[in-house]
């Protein structure tokens, strides 16, 4: 096949970014459904805040979640003034493993409660961490890793356990949910 005769002058793209949808992932996906839907994980976090009467909340998000809910709570951007820090921002999962641990320690030093959502698919993003003693089951291995690396903290895994086939809205709210506090 002769590829030397294109129908147009070819320009190889080295700089123009393709459109990504990450800022509206949640709304975009919920609009696919016939019924009015809401992400259960989003509701879980909102109810967790409400039912445990957290008064001042720091929300770290990267897409369109907690829309109306934000108006019903006192939101702060300062972790030292928060009762709880909620992180659903995917970027947190993309730090190297030791850096995730250090960031957790720093946050829990500032604020007594951390509700951390990690995207399993980004963990160990740089392939720099290997611990063959962790469980073969990856979600369990993530929890074991946190428990092992944070001996001075309580780690409570609030996640569902399932095989992710890309249909669980993980890029709206990540799938691994942990409540992290300092040991008493």
């Amino acid at each position: 096949m002769d590829l030397s005769h294109p129908t147009k002058t070819i320009v190889i793209n080295k700089s123009k970014n393709l459109y990504k949808w990450s800022k509206i992932f949640n709304r975009l996906q919920m609009n696919f459904f016939k019924e009015e839907t809401k992400l259960r994980r989003e509701k879980q976090i909102e109810d967790f805040i409400y039912l445990n009467e957290f008064k001042s909340v720091m929300l770290v998000t990267d897409t369109d979640v907690f829309g109306e809910f934000k108006n019903t709570i006192q939101v702060t951007t300062d972790p030292t003034k928060a009762d709880i820090v909620i992180i659903t921002d995917q970027k947190f999962s993309r730090y190297p493993c030791p850096d995730i641990i250090n960031r957790i320690i720093d946050l829990v030093d500032c604020c007594p409660n951390l509700y951390l959502c990690l995207n399993r698919h980004y963990i160990n993003i740089d392939n720099s961490y290997i611990d063959i003693n962790l469980a073969p089951d990856f979600p369990l291995a993530i929890t074991q890793w946190l428990v092992k690396e944070l001996p001075a903290h309580q780690i409570l895994d609030l996640s569902l356990n399932y095989l992710d086939r890309g249909d669980y809205f993980t890029w709206a709210i990540p799938d691994r949910h942990y409540l992290i506090r300092k040991n008493d």
Binding site: M1, L3, H5, P6, T7, K8, T9, I10, V11, I12, N13, K16, L18, Y19, K20, W21, L28, N31, F32, F33, K34, E35, E36, T37, K38, L39, R40, R41, K43, K91, F92, R94, P96, C97, D99, R120, H121, Y122, I123, N124, I125, D126, N127, S128, Y129, I130, D131, L134, P136, D137, F138, A141, I142, W145, L163, R165, G166, D167, Y168, F169
Partner: protein, 232 residues
């Protein structure tokens, strides 16, 4: 009343064309090239890695599978395009639709000399064994000597990311495809090496090339004498 859902299967999806199109569109970044190029009568923008694939194709049939290859077919009409989602046929007539890879050899009326699957979203959410099964279906339409271009993203494949050296894992898998008569000729496996800045902070970027995938492989099918010198 609002329904709370955890996964796509838990509620019915609208079946109108617009919804189907947006579902297709938001998972296929390269569709954007087709949209851009349609509006330009003289110039066509093409992806850098797609240009590398085309530079490395041998004479004969070229197929892009599940990779928005129709944007390239607009420039080189000889390129054949296979897509898995019927919605594509509504905006681009000249494609083969193959929803199930097992049907591929029945759907394509020819054998192929160059076969490319470039970070296809439908390729993801399986283990390496699942990938092997997909690839075995592709080989059924390959002529001996076919060049096979296969790229993926590590973050959307099933692997225990904490207990396995992923670079070794994916490279060993690619080498293992010799059992399908595919000889690995070239590969690029890129995990972003994170280095702290002067304040000790790390970046939170994804692994390189979210468009084409950070796992890139080129193989030759049933031909140990191909003196292919990869042109990058």
């Amino acid at each position: 009343m609002t329904k709370f859902i955890e996964a796509f299967e838990q509620s019915k999806i609208k079946d109108d064309r617009k919804t189907q199109y947006i579902r297709y569109r938001f998972g296929r970044l390269k569709h954007q090239y087709w949209l851009w190029n349609r509006k330009n009568k003289t110039h066509a923008l093409i992806d850098e890695f797609d240009s590398i694939i085309l530079r490395n194709c041998k004479p004969g049939k070229i197929v892009f599978f599940g990779s928005a290859g129709y944007y390239l077919k607009d420039i080189w009409s000889e390129i054949e395009v296979v897509e898995q989602f019927p919605i594509v046929k509504t905006f681009y007539e000249d494609v083969y639709i193959c929803e199930d890879r097992k049907e591929l050899s029945n759907i394509l009326p020819f054998k192929v000399d160059n076969f490319a699957v470039v970070n296809s979203r439908a390729e993801h959410w399986v283990t390496i064994d699942g990938l092997t099964e997909y690839v075995s279906q592709y080989t059924k339409v390959m002529n001996p000597g076919c060049r096979f271009f296969y790229t993926l993203r590590d973050t959307q494949l099933h692997v225990n990311r904490l207990t396995i050296d992923m670079e070794e894992h994916f490279l060993n898998w690619a080498i293992s495809l010799e059992k399908l008569n595919l000889k690995l000729v070239w590969h690029s496996i890129q995990f972003h090496k994170k280095i702290p800045d002067s304040d000790g902070n790390y970046d939170h970027n994804e692994n390189p090339d979210t468009t084409n995938g950070n796992l890139k492989f080129m193989f030759v099918y049933k031909d140990n004498n191909d003196n292919w010198e990869i042109q990058l």
